[in-house]
């Protein structure tokens, strides 16, 4: 997928043509990267790991959204709400029923997936903009539910305190420990995403995005496939929510607001729709942009003292909005498209075409 290939490197067997990693050295690079990823907590600083943890959690949710929006073309403004479902489901399972985290994590994904199905049901009759409205309703109704219903169970506005995951005598109570779990799930979901895209399911999603009428004529049951996309997307969000709950160790309904959902959509756009690499690019790019804002805000504050009080709160949404707008105008296919262009150029080198 991501591997760049020099000129003259052809696929000489069918197996190699459909493989993700086609050459031995691709395998080498991939394994080296995985080893690097999982040994990083041994020497990286806590600050860096904090950023990487947030990137990992966000990546899971954005991969899910990318399946729904990028592949299937259904707009969802409710990804953060489905994350909330996962976070609360996992917390309640662990604290009330004593379910171990390792079981609560997939359960949280399933619960969020089912809730996603419910809000995906309107896609039977409506599409495009109208569907965006239905998911917008989900984005308002779900946090309200956790805020106001069954306050004894969900803790109302103050939310819940979440215990750290345990494995035998190991307690995953630090960012360093959680990093391993988060990255493992992030890698797994990314690989699953990649494989969904390569199978019948993914091709059906793409055909629905490109033309639902033609897809139907080709024998794809649009409704069930749309629902599958909703389910997978919400399931990913649920996993992300569960990880977030056990990483942040405290959840409140207002952490899962519309703004987060809009940011996730923005990450899909910046990364590029309809690719597995896109969400990775988009998530890393936007998250790093946010870190940049945190770093440069005090500096701007000292330059222009009149703005000091508000610059941190203002710069984030301003820059984010601006970046999305610029991408929509100048590079609607996102960073992944740039990467494709680079790969194509590398493949042709040293010939011009």
């Amino acid at each position: 997928m991501a591997a760049i290939r020099p000129s003259g490197d052809f696929d000489i067997t069918y197996e190699r043509d459909v493989a993700v990693l086609r050459q031995p050295w691709h395998w080498g690079v991939a394994i080296a990267f995985v080893i690097f990823l999982f040994t990083l907590p041994l020497f990286a600083s806590g600050y860096l790991l904090g950023i990487l943890n947030m990137i990992g959690i966000t990546l899971i949710a954005v991969q899910g959204l990318s399946i729904l929006t990028g592949y299937t073309g259904q707009i969802s403004l409710g990804q953060a709400a489905f994350m909330a479902v996962g976070a609360y489901a996992s917390t309640v399972l662990v604290t009330r029923w004593g379910v171990p985290f390792w079981l609560a994590l997939p359960c949280a994904g399933l619960v969020a997936g089912v809730v996603g199905l419910v809000f995906g049901l309107p896609s039977l009759r409506i599409k495009g903009f109208y569907l965006a409205m239905a998911t917008l309703a989900a984005q308002f109704i779900i946090p309200w539910f956790f805020r106001n219903v069954a306050k004894g169970l969900f803790g109302g506005t103050t939310g819940l305190v979440v215990p750290p995951p345990r494995l035998g005598s190991l307690v995953f109570d630090s960012g360093r420990m959680m990093y391993v779990v988060i990255m493992a799930v992030a890698c797994l979901t990314t690989i699953v995403s990649k494989n969904i895209a390569r199978t019948r399911l993914g091709r059906a999603f793409l055909s629905i995005r490109d033309s639902d009428l033609a897809a139907e004529v080709l024998g794809i049951n649009i409704f069930t496939y749309k629902l599958r996309a909703f389910f997978i997307s919400a399931l990913y969000a649920g996993l992300a929510g569960s990880l977030w709950a056990h990483y942040a160790r405290a959840i409140r309904p207002d952490q899962f607001d519309l703004t987060s959902s809009v940011w996730y959509l923005g990450m899909v756009i910046v990364g590029g729709m309809g690719s597995t690499l896109g969400p990775i690019f988009g998530t890393v790019f936007i998250r790093l942009l946010r870190e940049l804002v945190i770093v440069i805000s005090p500096w701007i504050g000292t330059l222009v003292p009149a703005l000091e009080a508000n610059v941190l709160a203002a710069l984030g949404p301003m820059l984010f909005g601006l970046v999305i707008m610029l991408f929509l105008i100048f590079e609607p296919r996102g960073l992944a498209h740039r990467w494709e262009i680079f790969k194509a150029a590398w493949r042709l080198r040293p010939f011009a075409y």
């Binding site: 309107p122 109208y130 984010f320 707008m325 929509l328």
Partner: protein, 303 residues
């Protein structure tokens, strides 16, 4: 159910619905001619309110001149948004325009916080606060808050003015023609781009009026923008293309919200804040059972 409170909550809801109708009107105006649903309408509203507030409180200008400045700013803002953000997206899929207005809302939110601050600001008193008491009819008294009454009246006048504008003026006719078919309108000599610009300006002015009215009722802060989300159900309920629909939808959402907030007798039910999500439940129901709304165009699309 507290049925004897019904008239009070019904009237309050109707008056609040006036403001929703005004916001819905702005959304419908843009949708009618450009086929774009403006998720940033609430943020334009908030900025308009803030501009008027700034000139009244910080610059100490009289009300009418502050409102005038706010209107000019709104016109410029509308033109700028159309030219810089949405014109490049003509011909792009609907996802792009939705994301563009969402990104725009984030951008405007940031600008508002940067320029005006994140704190809630009190508006100078535009309307006397003394409530108007109707009745008693039997043992029922209806208390009307004057700012609400005025905002309702202004909203209704605005809506009526635009309905007449679309019906009887040449510019209104041009805008309706553009709404019908962009290419056809262009081919009969209408300047579609200019019409888009005018449309966005008008919608921004309508939003600014809403911002000033809402600000005078409850004060103003960047979160005021969220009120527009309650107008979305109103627009869908009434039908995306229909100005009468915007009014009916706005008033309905206002009334339903107010009744749900006030009528249940059980304190536990009232404390749940059901009113907060009522508009969105209404929206889901409309989407499920009548996606075209009451007066919207029925596009036949068989899958």
């Amino acid at each position: 159910m507290n049925w004897n409170l019904f008239p009070q909550f019904f009237v309050t809801g109707l008056l609040t619905g006036g403001v929703y109708a005004l916001i819905a009107l702005g959304l419908v105006i843009i949708y009618k001619s450009t086929r774009i649903f403006n998720f940033a309408q609430g943020h334009i509203l908030m900025i308009g309110g803030f501009v008027a507030w700034w000139f009244m409180v910080n610059a100490g200008w009289p009300l009418w001149s502050a409102v005038l400045v706010a209107i000019v700013v709104a016109i410029l803002l509308g033109l700028l948004i159309e030219r810089l953000a949405l014109r490049p997206l003509i011909g792009q899929p609907i996802l792009s325009t939705i994301l563009m207005t969402l990104a725009l809302s984030q951008f405007l939110q940031g600008v508002a916080i940067l320029v005006f601050g994140a704190q809630r600001q009190a508006f100078p008193e535009l309307f006397p606060l003394k409530p108007l008491v109707l009745g008693p009819f039997g043992d029922i008294r209806i208390i009307l808050k004057l700012p609400l009454v005025w905002s309702f009246v202004i909203a209704m006048v605005g809506v009526a003015a635009f309905a007449l504008f679309f019906r009887f003026t040449k510019a209104g006719l041009a805008m309706r023609a553009t709404a019908e078919d962009h290419q056809l309108a262009q081919s009969v000599g209408l300047k579609v781009r200019r019409i888009f610009g005018v449309t966005w300006s008008i919608a921004a002015v309508v939003a600014t009026a809403g911002g000033i009215l809402l600000g005078s009722i409850s004060g103003i802060d960047p979160n005021l923008a969220l009120v527009a989300f309650k107008a979305f159900p109103a627009v869908l309920f009434g039908g995306l293309e229909s100005i009468p629909g915007a009014i009916v939808g706005g008033l309905t959402v206002g009334v339903v919200e107010s009744l749900v907030a006030g009528l249940p007798k059980e304190a536990a039910l009232r404390e749940m804040g059901l009113a907060e999500i009522t508009p969105f439940v209404v929206m889901l129901l409309v989407l499920l059972f009548k996606p075209d709304g009451l007066f919207g165009l029925k596009r036949i699309e068989r899958i």
